[in-house]
């Protein structure tokens, strides 16, 4: 499970590697944290670490999209943004295709990079996470490779316009003033302008960049488009964008736990999002991912150790107190009531 750095405790084991601002691998998977490591993580500006507290009991999921591929994509976006769009389009395509390849292999798509990166890298990492989610949704919607490349490229670049928004507004911890918000809204247009510089970028990809904040009910920006006027690709990117944003800790608000994010996307179907597309994306989301600590309706606490795709709300759980394994699939009188919060996880780890 992902824990903010301040909740980390010595003795916890890293479930995923930690990457620095300059995309260097700081700590590998399986490293046992010490007090020293934790303090240096704070120094490096790392916000969250993916750790496991029950390393003996289950193997952390290793089925994540290759870090190399993801970091490669992150640096590509950075290069593009910093260099003003001089990147070879073919290079973007190949990078997106390497992500498509990973997804087709059936890799986990919801474990996001955003949580594991520092503030400065947030925008780029967010772009890659959204790109991954969008492509995975596109695969479920039976898009062919060409369409997936268009969708992936568009969603990989969807937030490039943010580079023109002042950092002061972008990273402001308080609520934005209406003027600031207007400026913030302009990032879609900025991005669209920037994308024109990328030779060969398809019209549909550019449309994603321009319309990724448009909402199905017309409440979005910049143009307030409605319903079918927004392309499906932009709609996919929009849902993925929202999901990734709300499940990430930001300076101005805490991340929502996966099951709450799931509920929220579900509730927004046909209001903010086209229902079909929201439902497709929900198929990718696991409200209680493997490794998360949950409370059950009988008051016991447990760790999710296995998950069937079709029964995402009824995983296999190891009860912490009794060490017994319960398959919720067969226990109809038992349901998950919620995820443990960070303090409770920390308390558990201390025991």
């Amino acid at each position: 499970m992902k824990l903010p750095v301040r909740y980390l405790l010595p003795g916890m084991v890293l479930a995923s590697p930690i990457i620095s601002n300059n995309k260097q691998l700081l700590l590998g998977k399986g490293v046992i944290l010490t007090a020293k490591i934790i303090s240096s993580l704070k120094k490096f500006g790392i916000l969250v670490a993916d750790v496991t507290i029950l390393s003996k009991d289950f193997e952390a999921p290793s089925n994540e999209i290759d870090y190399g591929v993801r970091l490669n994509a992150v640096s590509l976006v950075e290069e593009l943004v910093m260099g003003g769009g001089t990147v070879n389009y073919k290079k973007i395509l190949l990078t997106v295709d390497s992500i498509i390849g990973e997804i087709l292999e059936g890799k986990e798509v919801t474990s996001n990079l955003t949580n594991l990166c520092s503030v400065d890298m947030y925008t780029f990492a967010h772009c890659v996470d959204v790109c991954i989610l969008s492509i995975a949704a596109g695969v479920l919607l039976n898009y062919d490779r060409k369409k997936l490349l268009t969708l992936g490229t568009g969603s990989l670049l969807h937030d490039i316009g943010k580079i023109k928004v002042p950092l002061m507004i972008l990273n402001k911890p308080e609520k934005l003033t209406p003027e600031e918000f207007e400026e913030m809204k302009r990032h879609s247009d900025y991005g669209y302008e920037m994308s024109k510089a990328i030779y060969d970028l398809t019209v549909l990809s550019k449309e994603i960049i321009l319309n990724h904040h448009e909402k199905y009910d017309g409440s979005g920006y910049p143009r307030g488009l409605k319903g079918e006027k927004i392309s499906d690709m932009a709609a996919i990117c929009s849902v993925a964008d929202v999901y990734n944003a709300i499940t990430t800790d930001r300076i101005y608000r805490k991340a929502l736990p996966p099951h709450e994010a799931y509920e929220m996307i579900m509730a927004a179907g046909d209001l903010m999002f086209k229902n079909e597309i929201a439902l497709t994306l929900l198929k990718l989301i696991k409200p209680y991912p493997v490794g998360s600590a949950v409370t059950l309706s009988n008051g016991l606490k447990g760790i999710v150790i296995d998950l069937k795709e079709e029964l995402i709300f009824r995983p296999v759980i190891k009860i912490i107190e009794t060490k017994e394994i319960v398959d919720l699939k067969n226990q109809h009188n038992l349901v998950i009531t919620g995820l443990l919060n960070n303090e409770e996880v920390q308390k558990l780890a201390l025991n």
């Binding site: 395509l93 498509i100 390849g101 292999e105 596109g138 039976n142 898009y143 490779r145």
Partner: protein, 482 residues
Amino acid sequence: MVIIPSVRKRLFFTVSALIMGLLILFVFQSMNNYATQKDILERIEERRLKINQIAKAVELSERIFSDGKASQIQIRELEQITQQLLPVMHTLEGKILVQNLSGSIENVKNGGDLTKLVTNCKELSAFQQRRLGNDLWLLETEIISRGFKNLITSIIITVILGVAVAWGLHRLAREYLLTKVILQGTTNGILVGNEKGRVAVSNDAFCNLLGGCKKKNMVGIPLAEAGEPGRLLALAIQGNHFMVGQEVCFLGPNNNEICLLMDTIPWKDERGKILGGMAVVRDYTEQWTEKQKVSAENIDLREKAERDSMTGLYNYRAFIEHMQQRAFYQSQGHFALLMVDLDNFKIYNDALGHLAGDRLLGELANIMMDAVRDDDMVARYGGDEFVIVLQGANLNKAIDIGERLRLSIANHPFPSQECLPGGKVTVSIGISVYPENSSNVEELIRCADAALYQAKRVSRNRLEYYRPAICTGKELSEIVNS
């Protein structure tokens, strides 16, 4: 459908013609008899009248003579008699005698000789007596001649009728005989059923073709009891089916196989009423046996041509043909195509030799045959690639079966499998499903191929199903470079 006037109708015509003829004859005879009788009675009456009149005249004349004088009344009576007699006298002599009499009456009236009157009367009477004798003879002759004429006419009519009836009967008889001759002369078995589903006619050849009948005369028994052809004929009559050259095979009484070619012809009359039907059967056993032999040989040949000699599975050609047939009958519903490829077969071949490689393929083929149902198809696509067509399987079912197959191969203790990377023989599987992925055979194979490529690319020992997102390296470079 054959429309025939019924035999019954013809018989009815003949019989009614006969009755009509007899009736006409009877009426004619009675009319004739009546006319003759009337004629003769009239004549007898006339003669009786004449004799009466003449006797009266004689009596009157004798009284006048004996009285010696004639009274006015007597004379008038005599005149009346002569007047009555004159028109009924047919002979010249008779007429003269009557005129003589009337002349003598005139004489008497004028006071002439009475004896003359008496003589005349007597003469007339004598003449009449003579005439009566003649007349009787004439009447006799007349009666005889009339009777004779009647007889002749009757004979003529009877003869004509008889000829007509005989001709009709002859026609019937000839038809009947012809039918008999045809029935017994032909080597074809003939069975005729009536509308009640019973046998109306059958011939010996039919019995012989059936391999013998329980009853020699089958007329009247239900058609269903007249062997397999009888049963079919009953059905054909009920359903009004016209069949030609139907092959009918069944077991004979000695448990030998009998095959017949059978035509069934239902009959209807002009108004569409079913009268029954006819079955014509001919022996076909020899040709059938021959044909069976030939087709068995053909099947055998085809089987050989369709099989891969090394593994005994269907070969590429048979697979393609099978797929094209499926594409032709598009209503066949779901099926899934599994493309199975042996991982690292080249290494195995190079390390252990081609013979070992061939044995491995054979063993693999057996495992695959065991993993699928009877109506599924397993074929060798080429080299170390196999295809499986799963009848009626959707994607989930295909993944299920494919995954089971993959595991059972991975867990099978193949000989010398340690030489392979990973230490075991594994396969990669690509799946495409009809009609979701494509309803085109080539496209479907391409889809399975692309899925297989994806599986190989990822990790081997893996199952992958087709999604449009999947494409081969070549296709990708085409997309990226375009």
